[in-house]
Amino acid sequence: MKREISPLCALSLSLTAVLLIAGLGAVIAGALVPNVVLPAMDVPMLAALSLIALALETVVFGHGSREWVASLAVAVVDFGLLSLCTGRVSASEAVRAAALGGVVFLCCEVLFHSILDRLSSGSAGKHLKSAAVVTAVLLWLASQSMAGMGL
């Protein structure tokens, strides 16, 4: 599939958009409903945000080659800065969010694209967008085994 921008740029834009929406939700919910108990920033939550971004990237921009180290750097910066900007975490918690978010994101990305690489070479390649969504859902379900592990 032809891409207009590089996979890394697409990934960066997707992840920023997803984390912005999640951050806005947390800020607005915290202001309007003070007694709301927001989900913890544990592995399943970080995996959910990562997988939504990966699925969004594939659906909007298509499936392309990966730069793992650069992806990790993008994820670390995005998770750290945007969590800090919500005002709901301290600086040290933002650093932990950056580190854990980066690792979780990288693991999700490797698994996500490994599965998609195989699917895209087969008959499912005609339905790549659906395959991306299904892959993301299945990986998130798998991440539930790590509920409670987090910041």
Binding site: G23, V27, I28, V37, A40, C85
Partner: protein, 179 residues
Amino acid sequence: MNRKELAWSAGALVLACLVLVLTRTAMASTAERRAAQEQQAMMETLLPGGVTFTPETYDGEDENITAIWKSETGYVVETVVDGYAGPIRQWTGVDESGSVTGLVVRDMEETLGLGREALTDVSFLGQFVGTRGQAAVGEGVDAITGATVTSKAIAKGVSSAAAYVTGADVSTSATEWGG
């Protein structure tokens, strides 16, 4: 990624940060006002008859107690006790005689579908209303199915709150695991 794309990515990130900070700033006064209103309403619910809730300093030995508010009819005690996945912060209303008048879990990180049910399980939380002194799972209090540690932690918080008013001794050991 070429320079143009790098600029797009960096620009998007900066814009996202700005949006979050500006939203937070714009909603700060609303957040403060709503938090105060919600706190007052919640405390009035936990402690019927209470109107004014004045923070009090706690200098006792119970490490579970983190804050206390004194009112006309009793106290609202905030406790933080370690649950299964993280600390559980709860408010317990206790009248002057040491009887629990209300309980609400304010914050927790427990497992979705298990310990997290304690947020809304009225039948579980209602067991503590009217108790005096020690509240213990298995001794008059039924735990939430599949969430024994969470249940024990909440019971420990209630015991600490009641003990503050009655002056009873309370164990501040870690929440026990197992049945």
